[in-house]
């Protein structure tokens, strides 16, 4: 079977909250293996859009197609089982559990045997458990530099680390499509650089498609393959970073002239 070139397609998606039009006929296509960014002012509908994809919101009309399969009316956990994982703007973790337990939950997607079978075949369950822990240790904790704190309870850790654990949690289900909602919000420069490095490394190693929402323009312009700009629930522009940066409408609405002057200044120097 031919693999769809577009990992995710959204057609004509609209969402209402009472009288408020949160999304208005949005179309987009995310290419497999690309890093796709959504930008726009606060309230533009970026988070609403990804909440429609992960089915926390029910769109009023339109279609969401993932891997050539319509998932518009799936339930949230079913979307997750298709291989879509995500992080949240305000970190969503199991705060009373250890880092490792948080990540172990990702296996639920790949759970073949039920709980009773798990009890019956203790040997098999034990082996699975060991394999799982090895996978988490090697592929996630090691990668993200979280190994030293894997037995800590999440609630006791600082914000920057929790942000990284949220990413680890999203990865724990071995997704093929990763949605990141402001992964570097509230981080300092060093933490931001670390986080971006981790995201790019994981993306490359796992062959992920990444959908990113971020306000940090320098980051977005540097790492994106394709950018969609939104405003008031509508798509107002899209293209590769160079094109979007020069789009006068985008500058007027979102980037602002000072940003452009900053960019030109930098270009002038180099």
């Amino acid at each position: 079977m031919e693999i769809a070139q577009h990992h995710l397609e959204i057609h004509n998606l609209s969402l209402n909250f009472g009288g408020v039009q949160a999304l208005n006929r949005v179309d987009l296509k995310v290419k497999r293996g690309s890093l796709f960014s959504l930008i726009g002012p606060n309230g533009a509908g970026k988070t609403s859009l990804i909440n429609c994809i992960s089915k926390f919101y029910e769109p009023k009309e339109g279609k969401i197609i993932f891997n050539d399969r319509e998932i518009t009316h799936f339930r949230p956990h079913e979307v997750a089982r298709c291989g879509v994982s995500r992080t949240f703007q305000n970190i969503e973790l199991f705060k009373g559990m250890t880092v490792l337990d948080n990540l172990k939950l990702g296996r639920h997607i790949h759970l073949r045997s039920g709980p009773l079978a798990g009890m019956a075949y203790l040997g098999k369950a034990k082996r699975e458990e060991k394999e799982l822990e090895e996978f988490i240790d090697r592929e996630i904790l090691g990668f993200l530099g979280l190994t030293p704190i894997k037995n800590w309870v999440v609630a006791t850790l600082p914000y920057g680390l929790q942000k990284r654990i949220d990413l680890a949690r999203a990865l724990s289900s071995k997704p093929e499509f990763l949605i990141l909602d402001e992964p570097v919000a509230g981080m300092n420069r060093e933490e931001t650089q670390d986080m971006i490095k981790h995201i790019l490394e994981i993306k490359k190693a796992w062959g992920l498609t990444v959908l990113l929402i971020e306000h940090h323009m320098e980051v977005v312009m540097n790492i994106s393959d394709w950018i969609v700009v939104m405003n008031f629930g509508e798509k107002i522009a899209e293209g590769p970073p160079e094109a979007v940066q020069k789009n006068p409408e985008v500058i007027r609405i979102y980037l602002g002239h000072s940003y452009m002057e900053g960019q030109q200044g930098r270009e002038g120097k180099s």
Binding site: H77, A80, L93, G96, M97, L105, H108, P115, G118, A170
Partner: protein, 294 residues
């Protein structure tokens, strides 16, 4: 001295059963925020179903218990599926009213079916007695204690190590994150109700075999409140500790304080103690402190 030890043993045994019943209550509260006033009725109805199978249908007792567990698990799932699922987003007071309604229906149903007389519960266990420092512990207490402790341990292991247990804890902790990991909140909730109903039934069977079986066994639902509020509504460990405290408190006050005050002081002892504890620790002994920001 001898009397005190006897009283303590009785208290601890009854307490371990309270813990069991309270765990069911806490599970539901933790995973859905529902305060289940029908927990006591589940206890009573479970015991009656076992009784019916053993004495009316002549089914061997262990098989009867097994069948009862299946039935009460199904009852729990039905309550969740056909009543509470439609009440998401409804105010807590309405949900409480609904669970009270369910409780009345179950109590009324049991009263209509079995009447309001006392029934002697068939004996569950082979006779076994233990002499502890010259004090004889009766068979039923010993067995009840062993059984409820065993069930508590199974519980603990289930939540700590099993995949489903971990998923249930996760869904109670953070539903959004649980869903993104492919955990179905409905399935978890359904299972929670089934487990709660099954432990309630186990508690009911044990209590009925210690004293007697009567429709009023559902009043045990009231004693669950001091237990869980003592321990903190959302703490399983708290429910266990609370159960033991209330059990011992009841037994001790029944023997030592009730004669002084007259009446059945043991029935209110737990509530009196609860008042004192809540004055000192408003969130219970183990509960999460919740700070509401306005």
């Amino acid at each position: 001295m001898n009397l005190l030890v006897q009283v303590l043993i009785a208290g601890i045994t009854i307490g371990s059963i309270y813990s069991l019943i309270a765990i069911g209550f806490v599970l539901i509260f933790k995973s859905s925020g529902v305060i289940n006033f029908a927990q006591g009725s589940l206890v009573m109805v479970g015991a009656f179903i076992t009784y019916a199978f053993v004495t009316q249908f002549k089914v061997p007792i262990l098989l009867s218990i097994l069948i009862t567990f299946l039935i009460s698990g199904a009852i729990g799932m039905i309550i969740e599926r056909f009543v509470l699922r439609y009440l998401t987003g409804v105010s807590l007071i309405s949900i409480i009213m609904v669970t009270m309604g369910i409780s009345f229906i179950m109590d009324g149903g049991a009263l209509a079916t079995w009447g309001s007389s006392n029934f002697t519960f068939p004996s569950l266990f082979p006779p076994l007695s233990l002499l502890l420092g010259g004090i004889k512990i009766s068979s039923i207490y010993l067995w009840s204690f062993i059984t409820s402790i065993l069930l508590l341990v199974v519980f603990l292991l289930f939540f700590k190590y099993s995949k489903m247990g971990l998923a249930m804890r996760a869904a109670a902790d953070n539903q959004k994150a649980a869903v993104t990991l492919g955990i179905s909140p409905r399935k978890v909730l359904s299972l929670t109700w089934a487990i709660s109903a099954v432990v309630a039934t186990a508690g009911g069977i044990l209590l009925a075999s210690i004293s007697a079986l009567h429709v009023n066994l559902s009043y045990i639902g009231l004693i669950v409140f001091p237990v869980v509020i003592l321990g903190g509504l959302d703490s399983i460990a708290g429910a266990v500790v609370g159960g033991f405290i209330v059990g011992v408190l009841e037994a001790v006050s029944g023997v030592y304080i009730a004669p002084l005050l007259g009446g059945a002081f043991q029935q209110v002892a737990a509530f009196a103690f609860l008042l004192i504890i809540l004055l000192i620790k408003p969130y219970g002994l183990f509960g999460t402190k919740e700070i509401e920001r306005l």
